[in-house]
């Protein structure tokens, strides 16, 4: 048990966690985080720094758990009354969170070359923009009756 806790909290670069980290040949070594070398800084580093190759299974399980929890949250929200106009934005936000989770970590975009992010993000941006405009104009664009 204590061993497991050690694994969860201590990061020595080769542990079961095997959090994504900067390789020694990383041209831009990450700055020291103000929180220091705690487990939290590992997570922050994961989320804030790219340029590393891949993570370990523990990290993937954590992301998977995170995704499952959000899914549960979404389904739970479905049954909650009284969210009113907030329901759709909240759900869209949650699904965007899941989307980013899968793309960034499962698809390694967070750790991979920026070129892949550019390629994917540019099409996402164009797609989201044009289809949002389409929905918007169909919803609000109309001719006034005489």
């Amino acid at each position: 048990m204590a061993n497991l806790w050690q694994k969860f909290t201590k990061y020595d670069g080769n542990g079961w966690w095997n959090l994504p980290h900067s390789a020694s040949n990383d041209p831009n070594p990450p700055h020291e985080n103000p929180i220091g070398g705690s487990w939290l800084s590992n997570i922050i580093r994961t989320v804030t720094h790219g340029g590393v190759s891949h993570a370990g299974p523990g990290f993937y399980w954590l992301v998977g758990l995170f995704l499952a929890i959000i899914t549960l949250l979404e389904v739970w929200l479905f049954g909650v009354e009284g969210l009113g106009g907030w329901y759709i934005p909240i759900l869209l936000g949650l699904s965007a969170l899941k989307f980013v989770g899968v793309v960034a970590f499962f698809m390694h975009l967070r750790f991979d070359h920026r070129m892949f992010t550019y390629v994917f993000a540019s099409s996402m941006i164009v797609g989201i923009l044009i289809f949002s405009i389409l929905l918007f104009l169909l919803e609000f664009g109309h001719q006034p009756p005489n």
Binding site: A23, S24, N25, V52, S53, H54, G56, P57, Y60, W61, V63, G64, L67, A68, T71, E74, V75, L77, F78, Y87, I88, L91, L92, L94, S95, K98, F99, V102, V103, F105, F106, M107, H108, H113, M115, F116, V119, F120, S122, S123, M124, V126, G127, I128, I130, F131, L134, L135, L138
Partner: protein, 215 residues
């Protein structure tokens, strides 16, 4: 990748202008293309939300609990996918095969859910021809289902390759590229689940249209 130079994480650096593998770049560009494909279908669904002239309407027919389970299944298949890739890169053939096979199984279970759902809807009187909800719903989820089916077949081949030892750390890229496709299919479903099921599940008849109760 004879001239590949590896870093300490065994990530090959390709002998290309960008240092990136061409096939992987191709897959990412293709996913960008697929974004527009699904984007157009999802936009169509949203435009036609609540425009059905006759029932059954979403609030009569969508089954959130069941779909939540199938959504969870597909989400977990993504986890299995990424674990499979990890073990392939590690050279752990047994675990790799197991997790890739898990992807196949979970993908197949998802398809099973969809098949049952489609049959159930047809039984309750909703087909692509019934109303605009049926049209947009079936074609969008059906196209997604076709993507899943292709992914399942692809993964089955890779599971077999892994089993026979032909999928090794040095060609883990084959799996990684297939994995990108698989994860993409998963994120499309994340959007579909939110947009079609959670947000639209309470959609009823549009104002001014008389609701006919369907048995």
């Amino acid at each position: 990748m004879t001239q590949a130079v590896t870093t300490q994480h065994h990530e090959p650096v390709e002998n290309t202008s960008t240092g990136l593998n061409s096939r992987k770049l191709l897959m990412w560009a293709f996913l960008g293309s697929d974004v527009m494909f699904f984007g157009a279908f999802i936009a169509t669904y949203l435009v036609y939300r609540g425009k059905s002239l006759v029932g059954p309407y979403p609030d009569e027919i969508l089954n959130i609990p069941v779909t939540s389970v199938s959504t969870f299944v597909l989400l977990m298949s993504s986890l299995a996918m990424v674990l499979g890739l990890h073990y392939v890169k590690e050279g752990n053939r047994g675990k790799a095969t197991l997790w890739i096979l898990m992807v196949v199984v979970l993908g197949a279970v998802f398809m099973g859910f969809q098949f049952v759902e489609f049959r159930e809807f047809a039984h309750e009187g909703l087909t692509p021809r019934t109303n605009i909800f049926g049209t947009t719903f079936f074609i969008l989820t059906g196209i997604h289902g076709a993507h899943v089916t292709i992914g399942v077949i692809w993964m089955a081949f890779l599971a077999y390759s892994s089993h026979t030892g032909k999928l090794r750390p040095d060609n883990a890229l084959d799996l990684e590229i297939a994995g990108l496709y698989w994860h993409f299919v998963d994120i499309v479903w994340i959007v579909i689940f939110t947009v079609i099921y959670l947000i639209s599940a309470t959609d009823g008849a549009p104002a001014g249209v008389e609701r006919v109760i369907h048995g």
